[in-house]
């Protein structure tokens, strides 16, 4: 979604409520006398433009034409704890390939996801199996993330309207807090998401997911900000489901390369076995 520059100029004052923003938008439209608002922008009329821009900036952290990452996933559930080391390749918006390098039981397992189709290469049986669609969106390898969570920028800006709900100092750090509420037409599972971002460098610090009853369900925290491949990114993500005490998944980016040339061949079923 492109941001309308002229609107941004008018609305660069801080806004704390959707109502004011709506009122100002309509006033501008009247004053200027020009139908600035296209249909698309109308549907996003509830957006706080600056909040929205911050959300998009956070999303851009992990957006790239292609990427190669070495990631460690530490999964703790009620019943077991394990560390999974994976190599992840991504190309464009919908091609992901993963190779599990440890632990031993799963080493050599390959995953290919193209669009909504997902295949697993299983070294034990030397077979490739296709997953049913429902499984492509569920938790990956028993963790608290989906496969897409590891790679893709979220669709927060597309599915939620953003409003700045806090702007100031917290624990000695200047932060913004953005409240994301689902757009009426969006098919999403959360009732509300809160996102805290550091003002200085736009680094996210936490993201809290609430259910439709307004109950905090899970919390994602960001830390260990490092520059990798020329980008400052949080290299440790910890997801904690609050309904299951003690359970959590940490994702640690050991290394990540953005916008490196990767051939389409990497994402073919034939090469998945490699």
């Amino acid at each position: 979604m492109t941001v309308n520059v002229s609107l941004l100029l008018f609305l660069s004052l801080p806004h704390h409520s959707i109502t004011i923003m709506r009122w100002q938008k309509s006033r501008i439209a009247l004053c200027v006398g020009v139908a600035l608002l296209s249909l698309g922008q109308m549907s996003h009329a509830a957006d706080d433009q600056r909040a929205r821009e911050i959300v998009e900036r956070v999303a851009r952290l992990s957006t790239s034409k292609s990427s190669i990452a070495t990631v460690e996933m530490q999964v703790t559930t009620e019943n077991w704890q394990r560390n999974i080391a994976v190599q992840i390749w991504s190309l464009g918006v919908d091609k992901i390939r993963v190779r599990i390098s440890s632990p031993r039981e799963d080493a050599g397992t390959g995953v290919l996801k193209v669009g909504s189709d997902m295949w697993y290469y299983l070294p034990k049986t030397d077979r490739t199996v296709k997953m049913p669609p429902a499984m492509t969106m569920s938790s990956w390898m028993g963790s608290h993330f989906t496969l897409d969570d590891l790679v893709k920028a979220s669709h927060l800006a597309r599915d939620y309207s953003a409003a700045l709900s806090f702007d100031g100092e917290r624990n000695g750090v200047e932060v913004y807090e953005i409240t994301l509420t689902p757009r009426p037409e969006a098919v999403v599972v959360w009732g509300k998401i809160l996102l805290e971002v550091r003002r200085a460098d736009s680094m996210p610090t936490w993201q809290r997911y609430y259910d439709e009853d307004g109950k905090l369900v899970r919390e994602l925290t960001f830390s260990d900000y490092k520059t990798m491949s020329g980008r400052l990114i949080p290299t440790r993500l910890v997801m904690r489901p609050l309904d299951k005490t003690g359970e959590q998944t940490s994702i640690i980016y050991k290394n990540i390369l953005f916008d490196v040339p990767i051939s389409e061949e990497m994402f073919s079923l034939k090469n998945l076995k490699r």
Binding site: N79, Q81, Y120, L122, K124, T125, R127, V129, M131, P132
Partner: protein
């Protein structure tokens, strides 16, 4: 009163044999009908309990507390440390009422065939032990049951086979999340296909050897989810479950459930079935009341003179009541004997040959349980006894009104009647 009155009553009954016979035939035939219905209903109950507790659910199942019905992979008997399975099975088998035991492991997995995949419940059993508890091996329609020789052989339901497009000899990959969080996967060969008539089983159950499933799920051999128990007599299920629960809990925390707790729908149906049987009994008793009142009343009116004479020579009203009631009791007893004689061969036939429900030859399933083509009767002696007792009480109660009427006769007037 007593002996003399009873003898008098019995003689009175046979002074008009035709009337007594007609009454006896009506009541006796009714009793035979009750036996017939009770036998069929008991047969239906028995068949439903049997099929409901012979395919997957058994007479009694032993689980870790909280395991059933969620069936979480991690809640094995004895918790994460597992338990001495051999000792546990021996402890269960030590009860003389137990006929056979079978250890089991459950899992959920994705079954991948060449073009299709679908989720299924995977049941791990010991191939030569499980058939002593359940009869799934008799429902194999293609191929064969599990064998120790083919540890990677699996048996699946016919509807599931159709859904994922496989047959006997096909290879499939099972994918599951193992107990250590890893991705359990392996290649298996379909050795047999079963048809039980139970949709949920035919559509979503995969059977494999216990050891293979433990390997797939990365569960050590000391971790099992269930001990399935077959009893000599299923009627003892609740009592045995209670006894085993108390006894096994001394060594390992368990929850022992009889089939009626495992499949409450089935237990509800059994209650419902009994209820219907009693309602039929009640309707018949009401009809019997009318018949007996009529017979006895007629007998009294016919014998007004005679009764008047008896009272004139000194029989007290209370003795008259006793006489009439004794006659009714004698009539009922004779009728029951007749009814039993008519009913016995019927009951035998129902038990041995059953009623052929005919039709398309497909299984008839009721309340989620396969009943089969033949409706066999089963002997429910307590119901027969209850019917007999009910009928005897009915006879006495219905004779009460005629008896009271007779007791109020005035000898002088009665003697003048023709």
């Amino acid at each position: 009163m007593s002996g003399r009155i009873l003898g008098l009553a019995w003689r009175n009954l046979w002074r008009n044999p035709r009337r007594t016979f007609i009454a006896m035939a009506a009541i006796g035939f009714g009793y035979a009908m009750l036996l017939f219905v009770a036998c069929l209903m008991a047969g239906l109950r028995q068949q439903m309990i049997e099929t409901g507790t012979s395919l997957v659910i058994s007479d009694i199942e032993v689980h870790a507390p909280g395991y059933y019905p969620k069936r979480s992979l991690y809640q094995t008997l004895g918790g994460r440390q597992g338990t001495d399975v051999g000792a546990l099975l021996a402890a269960v088998a030590a009860d003389p009422r137990v006929r056979a035991v079978s250890p089991r492991v459950y899992g959920y997995g994705l079954v991948n065939a060449t073009h299709q995949s679908a989720g299924a419940q995977i049941l791990g059993v010991v191939p030569n032990q499980e058939p002593k508890v359940t009869v799934l091996q008799t429902r194999i329609v293609k191929g064969s049951y599990l064998t120790e020789q083919m540890p990677k052989g699996i048996v699946i339901g016919d509807k599931f086979a159709t859904a994922i497009g496989v047959g006997v000899g096909s290879e499939v990959i099972l994918l599951t999340q193992a107990a250590d969080g890893s991705m359990g996967n392996d290649l298996y060969k379909i050795v047999g296909i079963f048809h039980t008539g139970l949709d949920a089983v035919d559509r979503g159950l995969v059977l494999m050897s216990l050891a293979s499933l433990q390997e797939l799920l990365r569960l050590p051999s000391i971790r099992i989810h269930e001990v399935a128990i077959k009893l000599h007599a299923i009627t003892e299920a609740t009592a045995v479950a209670k006894a085993l629960g108390g006894q096994l809990s001394k060594t390992v925390p368990v929850q022992v459930r009889a089939w009626s707790e495992l499949v409450p729908e089935l237990a509800d149906y059994v209650q419902f079935n009994r209820g219907i049987t009693y309602i039929l009994f009640l309707i018949f008793f009401l009809l019997a009341v009318i018949g007996i009142v009529n017979t006895m009343l007629m007998a009294i009116i016919e014998r007004t003179r005679e009764l008047g004479m008896l009272m004139a020579v000194g029989m007290r009203p209370v003795q008259v009541i006793g006489l009439i009631l004794a006659e009714a009791a004698g009539l009922a007893a004779a009728s029951l004997v007749l009814g039993g004689a008519i009913g016995a061969p019927l009951l035998w036939y129902l038990q041995v040959h059953g009623l052929d429900l005919g039709g398309a030859g497909d299984d008839v399933s009721l309340a989620g349980v396969v009943v089969g083509r033949h409706w066999y009767g089963a002997q429910d002696f307590s119901a027969y006894g209850q019917a007999a007792l009910g009928l005897a009480i009915t006879a006495l109660v219905s004779a009460l009104y005629p008896a009271l009427r007779a007791a109020r006769f005035r000898p002088t007037e009665a003697l003048r009647k023709v």
